[in-house]
Amino acid sequence: MIQDKSQVFNTARVEALELDNLVEVALATMHAAEARTESRGAHCREDFSERDDVNWLTHSLYYREGHRLAYKPVRLKPQTVASFEPKPRVY
């Protein structure tokens, strides 16, 4: 509950609005991550430990209504530099 009702530099209100956005982003991340059944980069899943470029070389798009997800292909033809083939990053 915000006590501060001021119009001037009301950081309490700004932070409340920010929290709203943070929740939104957290939801989007959760749903998209849950749907992505593979592992790449920082996204690691114990149940799907392999990288899967055939099905998942794709952007995830999240829609708030009904937590719907859509997908968009990754553009692999950069304008100015040579393309870098997707492959597992192993060290």
């Binding site: 915000i2 006590q3 001021s6 119009q7 001037v8 530099f9 950081t11 309490a12």
Partner: protein, 246 residues
């Protein structure tokens, strides 16, 4: 821990006043900013700027027990109680600990804090030798928190005209840059009697800088460049005459 904090909300208050807080700290509260956030849990009407909480963004500069500094890098154990917190001196207070930095950034902008180079851009970056790069050490690190400028008496009394330590040090930062070509223009820009020469080496700026920089010395070096410029002009004038004679 006891605090006494400057409060002013233009919506409610006619005049600023000091409000006392007694806050219970928890383990891990080491910096002043931690304590301020505890206070904000108790009283969300306390306004202050903050962002990175590690002395890089320069948002939470304030007057702490009479000395300007960043709340996030000021250790609680170093402070005498009650800790008196006030907004930075000499700038208009928007609310509580938040000051209006417009004037500060206008001065900063007035010294053209960017590289001026009229050569055609090369294929790659404009290169610099390690020695030339080293000349920028102690200058480029400024985070524009405003602690120096708002602790400077010359700025307090001449906020409209005096550029202030932060702006002047940035002016020198670009004069010292081997890639910059606007030395004459930059020196000319600071020649008006009150823009640069209001500095009286009081050194409050050096005293408070959270990055341990030395604007005072940078200002003295700008004056050196002035001498050099005058000498070069004379040499050039001589060359002119010699060419005419030839």
């Amino acid at each position: 821990m006891k605090f006494s904090i400057y409060r002013f909300n233009p919506d409610v208050d006619k005049k600023p006043y000091m409000q006392d807080y007694d806050v219970v700290l928890e383990d891990g509260d080491q910096m002043l900013l931690d304590a301020l956030l505890r206070i904000k849990d108790l009283d969300d009407s306390l306004s202050l700027r903050k962002s990175c909480r590690e002395g890089v963004c320069g948002s939470d500069s304030m007057n702490i027990n009479g000395k300007n500094g960043l709340a996030c890098v000021t250790k609680l154990s170093d402070l005498d109680e009650p800790v008196v917190l006030r907004p930075m001196p000499g700038l208009p207070v928007i609310r509580d600990l938040v000051v209006d930095m417009t004037q500060f950034f206008e001065h900063y902008n007035s010294v053209k804090p960017y590289l001026i180079n009229h050569d055609a851009p090369p294929e790659t970056e404009r290169l610099q030798s390690p020695e030339d790069r080293a000349k920028l050490d102690g200058l480029y690190e400024c985070i524009l928190c405003g602690a120096c400028t708002t602790s400077c008496p010359s700025f307090w009394w001449n906020p409209e005209t005096f550029v202030g330590p932060a702006g002047l040090m940035q002016a020198y930062r670009f004069m010292a840059d081997s890639r910059d070509q606007a030395m004459d223009e930059r020196l000319e820009n600071l020649e008006a009697p009150d823009r640069l020469y209001r500095c009286h080496n009081i050194m409050n700026c050096v005293d408070v800088c959270p990055k341990k920089l030395n604007p005072s010395l940078a200002i003295a070096k700008i004056k050196d460049l002035k001498f050099e410029q005058a000498r070069e002009h004379k040499c050039n004038a001589k060359k002119h005459i010699e060419i005419k004679v030839l």
